[in-house]
Amino acid sequence: MAKALRTEELILNMGPQHPSTHGVLRLVVTLDGENIVEVMPDIGYLHSSVEKMMEHRNYTQCIALADRGMDYLAALLNEMAVLRAVETLGGIPVPERARYIRTIFMELQRIASHLLWLGTYGIDLGATTAFLWCMRERELIMDLFESVTGGRLHHVYFRIGGVNEDLPPGWTDRCREFCHYFLNRLGEYHRLLTGNPIWQARTQGIGVLTREQAIAFGASGPVARASGLQWDVRKSHPYEVYDRVDFQVPVYTEGDCFARYLVRMDEMRESARIILQCLDQMPEGEIRTPRVSLTPRLPPGEVYTRVESPRGDLGIHLVSRGAETPWRVKIRAPSFSNLFALTQMMKGWKVADVIAILGSIDIVLADVDR
């Protein structure tokens, strides 16, 4: 062999139309043979200019906009993020019962979001059964939502100073029944996936993100907790009734795809536990503070509040100048930070692992682009 083999790097474009990018994300992957040298996400394919539009909507309209424009898999948590900012700045009280209802709905939403993630991640890795099972359980949550809020995906259920409607009779029993049913099903998922050698081969040790890197990239949510970072807004800055229920924050130290999977599985269990406790503790009474205007004028000032969305630390920075509309809103989207942690996670892995790693961080492109 006199001549040396000439090699060169190959640039591969994944997306924006790709069945496994979970939306419209374009990944520019630089490959050396099969090894990934560099990954650069190209975002903005779903930029909805929500922050700008909120400047022209009153606060109640902002809730409806937050449902759709932001992370659409966790609509109720977006509502909560906006409402926390509005209620903190305006000093608007919320009745006890409404706080419990909100917590129950947010946790149901978290389970629904994680179920959809698990299903699509299963499809990404070739386990179609997981998708069908997860969607089956998600449909039950959609029924619970629908009987109260009237919507399946976008609810516009939370209001400034409470919630829109009280729970219909018998709903709490159905919800309790669902939680017990779901905890059983969770064991079924574990039996299907956790011990599965193919599943383990595709996820264990793949796409490692160290604790230091997670902090440096500002990763949050299950991605950070799988890297050993004990950080959950529900514990560190409790809102609603999270300080009155007993739940654990699952933390794993491996930082690989399998750890991220386990964190979400454990979170679903904890969410079901939170719902059961809330159902037991929930008092009777008002669901909405009386005499709160639908179009309040907030006092001038600014506020930064955060909630724990299924993808991480969702923050809203709201600036008011005394009008019916916000003067400026900045959304700190968890998926955005998590997406750029991806550039570090993917370095050095094979091209076949791109999908496994991308799926494991559970991005929603509407959350990234806003």
Binding site: L46, S48, S49, R68, M135, L153, H154, A366
Partner: protein, 195 residues
Amino acid sequence: MRDGPIPSGGPEVTSIARIPLEGSQVAPIEQLADVLYRLPGGALLLTTVENVLNWARASSLWPLTFGLACCAMEMMQAFATRFDLDRFGVIPRATPRQADLIIVSGRCTIKMAPVVRRLWEQMPEPKYVISMGSCATCGGPFFYDNYSILKGIDTVIPVDVYVPGCPPRPEALIEGVLKLQEKIRRERRLTRRGA
């Protein structure tokens, strides 16, 4: 059952179907469809090539798995457990080369519009488009006044069926697919003039 000689071979059948006959044997193409001829030891279904093509096309619509925004979640749900679009012959394909239907699910940005156009161009003919949700139809009930969202996907690609809703329920999408199937069954691609 129609009186007269039973057509026996393939070429004769097509000639009857395509050329109007004289006198009492005249049968319009529409009436010839779905006429069953019983033969000794079998049966012969007489129809037009067009009907067969339309029947095949309508019964196996393969959509492109293409999600843009929130409506894609309801689309996935429509393919999944409770609603199960597979029973209508609708099986998602991952590449536009194998697809004959594109479901534009969700809002489309101006940055994304050329990509949607190209995907549509990559699909082989005949191809159909379902615009799912208000955002894809007209820019939506919420994104009508912003700078980044396309005000209706029909400014980029021709749409066959519009499904309203924000987002539409999976049942609404199924209804849209059924409407598209109806539309395909009525198509006259071979006999229309100037085709």
